[in-house]
Amino acid sequence: MAEFAYEPEPEVRLAPGESVKEISGRSPWRIAGRRLARDRIAMGGLILFLVIVVISFLAPVYSSHIANTDPFVSNISGTTVVDGKKVDVVQQGGGGLGLGETPIGPTWHSNYFLGADNQGRDVAARVLYGGRASLLIGVGSALICCLLALAFALLAGFFRGWFDTIVSRVMDLIWAFPVYLLAITIATVLLTTPGGVKLWFIHIQATSLWIPTLIIALIYVPYVYRPVRGQVLSTREKEYVEASISQGASSLRLMFSEILPNVVSTVIVMFPLMIATTVLTEAALSFLSIGVQPPKASWGTIIQDGQGLLYTRPWVAIAPGIMIVLTVLSLNILGDGVRDALDPRAKVRVRE
């Protein structure tokens, strides 16, 4: 059928406001890169994301040089200086009946900028440290997820047969679980295993960031696998692949030189959006106390810490949430830009 109904697909489309001259003779990647670099909104998203990454990774500098506190040691009997006066970090009797303890609110200067949590720890420094964990898990799990999905999709779509059947069934099964319920199930099982997880020779502590990273990576694999496998299946039937087969190319060569470059753009488009999703998932799991485990902190665990202080010291819960919103928003904006750069909607064909 393909021989009779052959119509070449437009390989390159023009983005709005782009001339043929600007893109002729350039590789698709360079064209996409140029488009992305010109997209001011997408670049704004990228810069915002990078700023969040940089300040999160400067957390140790902030806590030791600016805030001068250790955000992982409780400091219930400590003091700080506000307006030249010495003040307790955790004040007695701030509760409704003059009972209980209330941590200090935002001081808006270097020490306890956003106040303290109920253990007297500096919230601003914790939010930065939490950002480190959240970003590591978010980027790490998105990366593992995309690589796993890409590898399985390539193998399954290329070899088809029983391998494809098995992989696709397993993916359908993961797909049939609501994502949060699957993540909660695996997390509960792994976290309640005494002494951490032992798989053959690998031993992961229950507090390791690898546990949430791997769980989140696993549950989203089908969401990337499905579209990529479909694309591998259709790319495999293209004329240039047939041409390569007729020249005696090996399976490995076909997969890596002919098919992979044509499907990888789908994964690249999904990658920033996947990070946005995994950051939100990590926050949700940690909020339910089955993600990042103490003493480590992430934005999700800090929001959970702040839940009990919501009406007295709302900044403990609000600040990490704002960081999540900014991170996810920047990634969504960047993701939209990457998608537009790789696949502009304008249906204009490039003519010689």
């Binding site: 949060y180 009406y311 819960a317 949430g321």
Partner: protein, 323 residues
């Protein structure tokens, strides 16, 4: 059509069977996980553990245990929780389901109306400031963690601005059954509905806008315009109606996930005793009978709604017929 329904039902049985087996194995075959240690209490003697194992049938082989659990769940319907012997699993789910249904359906009504309105507005006012403004709002909506949004709304409506004119009507957190007091039911759910729907409003408005812009380039839209139909009529009868195909299929799947327990974060934040919270509590307590039942319940709704979506799809688009 009948063959289609039968095939979907068979598929549902296969999915339910596989999911329950996987959950079962995750709990019983993972090395180091032992529910009997938890059931027997703190520092139990070996005899107590053995007695507990016998009582719950945990000393039988895995297939027998699975069979017994399914029998007590479906046939005798007297499966009880591991944690609380007085808690029967089936009535517990039947009691939690109306809460989840109330939450999800209200939010669904809200998100369908608002997202369609936003989509139409964005397409109508494309090229003005309205379109990008709406899309930025939609993007912010999908970037907020739902539990955090819930807490911020709680902070505003329960505490900071509770004594002002705007939020004086907001009742304390919790749930009032519809049968007991419809007005209080409504009041208690307004803020949870808004919280749950914001993510979906953003998502659906974006999908709808992109879809409608795509469809505007189709030949039949050009034909409709050429016939001299009013622009509003073209937009609603031709463009929007075709966009509804994608919309409806997404809607069915999301509804299935939410009814199936996906709304648990909203339920936790607003203290609503729904199925999501029941599942979450059972999961963290390793309470396998409750987990089994809620997972089956969830997968059931997800599968049923995805089958309904396929049927609806054929209704909306005669080009697709289930075979």
């Amino acid at each position: 059509m009948l063959a289609f329904i039968i095939r979907r039902l068979l598929g549902l049985v296969v999915v339910l069977f596989t999911i329950t087996v996987v959950v079962f194995l995750l709990f019983f075959a993972t090395p180091g996980v032992d529910p009997s240690a938890r059931l027997a209490g703190r520092n139990p003697s070996p005899e107590t553990v053995a007695a507990v194992k016998h009582e719950f049938g945990l000393d039988r082989s895995l297939p027998v245990r699975y069979g017994l659990m399914m029998k007590r769940l479906f046939i005798s319907r007297d499966l009880v929780s591991y944690g609380n012997q007085a808690l029967e699993v089936v009535p517990a789910i039947l009691a939690a389901a109306p809460v989840t249904f109330s939450l999800v359906f209200g939010a669904a009504v809200l998100w369908v109306i608002v997202s369609i309105a936003m989509g139409i507005m964005a397409v109508t006012f494309k090229g003005t400031f309205v379109d990008p403004l709406l899309m930025i709002l939609a993007l912010i909506g999908i970037s907020m963690p739902v539990f955090w949004l819930g807490e911020v709304l709680n902070l505003i409506t329960q505490d900071r601005l509770h004594d002002t004119f705007f939020f004086r009507w907001v009742p304390p957190l919790g749930y009032v059954p519809f049968t007991q007091d419809p007005w209080q039911w409504f009041l208690h759910l307004i803020i949870p509905w808004i919280t749950l729907s914001i993510l979906y409003i953003g998502f659906y408005a974006r999908v709808l806008r992109a879809n409608m812009l795509d469809i505007q380039n189709e030949d039949y839209v050009r034909t409709a315009k050429a016939k001299g139909l009013a622009p509003q009529q073209v937009l609603v009868r031709h463009v929007l109606r075709n966009s509804m195909i994608t919309f409806a299929s997404l809607f069915g799947l999301d509804l299935g996930v939410l009814i199936g327990g996906g709304a648990l974060l909203t339920e936790v934040v607003f203290n609503l005793p729904g199925v999501g919270r029941l599942t979450y509590n059972a999961l963290t307590a390793l309470d396998l009978p409750v987990i089994m039942a809620t997972v089956i319940y969830g997968a059931f709704f997800i599968s049923i709604l995805s089958a309904l979506v396929d049927i609806l799809y054929a209704r909306l688009d005669p080009r697709i017929r289930p075979t």
